[in-house]
């Protein structure tokens, strides 16, 4: 049962990541791969606030998420000033650069990682409490993204994506919307990160590299970019599937690469056969 809880918690955390990434890339059309770094920044911030300064964990989580949102502006503002393509490259540099920085910071555990992080809950019902919290948070995030993208604001985003020049000529500020979307998405990723930190109680800079970026991208694409439920489906499938594969009793030395090939193969199939993802509208519908 414990094991099932930990899988559910992972699914919840990845749902938040996928949904927030979907907001940025699926709805906002902003190509960035630095999502995991905002996860990481909030995770570290929250962990350290609690560990070194004694800030109560729920508050630390909140501050962590806000920190990520704020840091995202550092990335989005300069790059979007130039063009969307630059955001992609800048995001790569931003992510990897920050990982290097974290690896050199002693009080954050440096390259060996940060241990002994406080846990949000303790006691015998810990896992259940965590599971409920994370799943509720995930549902809230999905709902939030849905609300943002389907109301009046959502129509503005749509208009901006469809024809930015026209949009600007009508006096709407595309730049402000993009930066806001990016900040909200990154802040939500931060929320996921902080929850992760206080559940697993260990962080190391290697966990937030390009592999993570690709994983989240896969979840969004396979689930269906630009849909509300797509990220949930993507996160569920891509967290549960590797777990299921490990139970198939394949010789362990081939398991990891086979798993990887299954993932990436899955994405490629989807890209060509069903680019709208599992939940998206089939071409022609």
């Amino acid at each position: 049962m414990e094991y099932i809880y930990s899988v559910l918690i992972l699914i919840g955390i990845y749902t938040i990541m996928a949904a927030s990434f979907n907001l940025i890339i699926g709805y906002g059309g902003l190509i960035s791969i630095a999502h995991p770094i905002f996860f990481a920044l909030a995770a570290y911030a929250s962990a350290l606030l609690n560990l070194r300064l004694g800030v109560p964990i729920p508050l630390a989580i909140l501050i962590g998420a806000l920190f990520s949102a704020g840091m995202s502006v550092m990335l989005s503002l300069p790059s979007l000033r130039v063009s969307g393509d630059y955001l992609l490259i800048a995001s790569i540099g931003f992510q990897l650069g920050f990982i290097e920085v974290i690896k050199n910071i002693e009080f954050a555990g440096a390259a060996s990682g940060l241990t002994g992080i406080g846990s949000l809950y303790s006691g015998p019902t810990r896992s259940l409490a965590f599971t409920v919290t994370v799943l509720v948070a995930a549902a809230a995030v999905v709902w939030l993204v849905h609300w943002l993208t389907h109301g009046e604001y959502g129509r503005a985003i749509q208009a901006m994506r469809d024809d930015e020049e026209c949009f600007a000529s009508l006096g709407r500020n595309a730049m402000a919307i993009k930066i806001t979307i990016f900040a909200v998405g990154s802040g939500l990723a931060g929320l996921a990160g902080a929850l992760y930190a206080h559940y697993f109680q260990f962080l190391s800079p290697e966990q937030f590299g390009i592999v993570q970026s690709a994983l989240i991208l896969t979840m969004v694409v396979v689930g269906g970019m630009g849909t509300t439920l797509g990220p949930i489906v993507g996160a569920l499938l891509l967290t549960a599937l590797p777990q299921a594969i490990t139970f198939l009793n394949m010789p362990p030395s081939v398991m990891a690469p086979v798993q990887g090939m299954l993932y990436t193969g899955l994405v490629l199939v989807f890209l060509f056969v069903r680019p709208a993802g599992l939940v998206g509208k089939k071409a022609g519908q």
């Binding site: 414990e2 099932i4 509208k281």
Partner: protein, 387 residues
């Protein structure tokens, strides 16, 4: 239309999740009669050449123990899961071992993994035995985390003292890889060497992904050390050494037991002559079981194992666990993590076949004599032993 698509997608995902649960519980229902323990090691990833050999050693030991009747007639069983030497994968693997396979004790290595899974061991009250990782922090990871392998403050310290007292070098340079392996060991070396009275004239690091160490090595060269301690991985150390030699630096080099690998000699060529490597396990002269063990490897795999000393410890790991189970069985205690820990502290001193006597100290660590090995004529030969 959209609704149908969504519903299908939901059903698909739920089916997968249900399958996971079904297979998972079915798997753990089988085989309750064996004495289980977990082994979380890198089967894939950049460290797999060590991980796989270590796993093999443990599996051999388990087979040997069972061939002689097991523990009180019951068979020992090792459950192996891949960690890729990666903390996230490691957490997942140990979660499985603890919550699905319900092992009361597990063995793991690689400092990042050992630290990452410590919270699980402490929370679930399952005994974590770190065997092979050497970060000094491991001693303080919690009530349920013990190391059966000496930490860096044993072998690196021995090396530093040997270099100062016996080799009589007063000025050394420390070059280390910028990750958890290198950073902590380098700190230990520096503090021990300076405490002995020596001077660390250069203290430089390099990126794990770098291939050109010229600038950094030139800085070391300018400091004019008499001796260099290098602490990295087999993927980079030979390159560092060969570039060192090419820049005209002929100082002798020492490294830790991770360098006890044929690739060091192959890739660095003549530059590896005189290299001093530590080994924390007894060699064939010191322990009569080691010779036949090496022969067994040569027959089965046509080579000596990667990181021979580590594999000796992992072989003994099975015997260590067997001893814990024996205590628990003899005292009619249920095989829980708590009792395994109790067993460890009660028995305290173990006589193990490949590594000799192991004494678990109260501070969760063990101390062992350090063998020093050097490269002479492209071969590893014994040099000295430091208690």
């Amino acid at each position: 239309m959209n609704q149908n698509v969504t519903r299908r997608a939901w059903l698909r995902s739920l089916a997968v999740a249900a399958a996971v649960a079904a297979i998972g519980t079915a798997g753990s229902a089988a085989a309750q009669q064996t004495l289980k323990f977990g082994l979380a090691m890198p089967l894939t990833g950049s460290q797999s050449s060590y991980g796989k050999d270590q796993i093999k050693a443990t599996e051999w030991a388990v087979a040997d123990i069972n061939a002689k009747g097991g523990v009180n007639g019951k068979k020992l069983e090792v459950i192996v899961l891949d960690t890729q030497a990666d903390p996230t994968v490691g957490i997942n693997a140990v979660n499985r071992l603890v919550n699905v396979d319900k092992v009361p004790v597990f063995v793991t290595a690689w400092s990042a993994v050992v630290k990452a899974v410590a919270p699980i061991a402490n929370r679930e009250k399952v005994l974590e035995l770190s065997i092979g990782a050497n970060s000094p922090d491991i001693a303080k990871l919690g009530d349920y985390v013990y190391t059966a392998f000496p930490l860096a403050d044993v072998d690196v310290a021995a090396l530093a003292n040997y270099t100062f007292s016996t080799l009589k070098h007063k000025r050394v340079a420390v070059v280390y890889i910028n990750n958890d392996t290198g950073i902590e060991a380098a700190k230990v070396y520096k503090s021990v060497f300076e405490k002995a009275g020596g001077q660390v004239v250069a203290y430089e690091t390099y990126d794990p992904k770098a291939t050109d160490f010229t600038g950094m090595l030139l800085k070391v060269r300018t400091a004019n050390p008499e001796f260099i301690h290098l602490h990295g991985l087999v993927s980079d150390m030979p390159i560092v050494i060969s570039q060192m030699r090419q820049l005209g630096m002929q100082q002798r080099v020492s490294t830790y037991s991770g360098g006890l690998n044929q690739q060091m000699i192959e890739k660095a060529g003549k530059g590896a002559e005189g290299l001093i490597v530590t080994s924390l396990a007894p060699n064939a002269q010191q322990n009569k079981n080691v010779g036949p063990y090496i022969e067994r490897w040569k027959k089965a795999e046509n080579r000596i194992p990667n990181g021979l000393p580590y594999t000796q410890y992992l072989y003994d790991a099975a015997y260590l666990v067997a001893a814990l189970y024996e205590y628990v069985e003899n005292n009619k205690l249920p095989a829980t993590g708590e009792n395994m820990r109790k067993a460890l502290l009660a028995v305290k001193t173990f006589e193990l076949p490949m590594t000799g006597r192991l004494v678990m100290n109260d501070d969760h660590t063990v101390r062992k004599p350090v063998n020093l090995v050097t490269v002479k004529n492209a071969e590893f030969v014994p040099l000295a032993t430091v208690e």
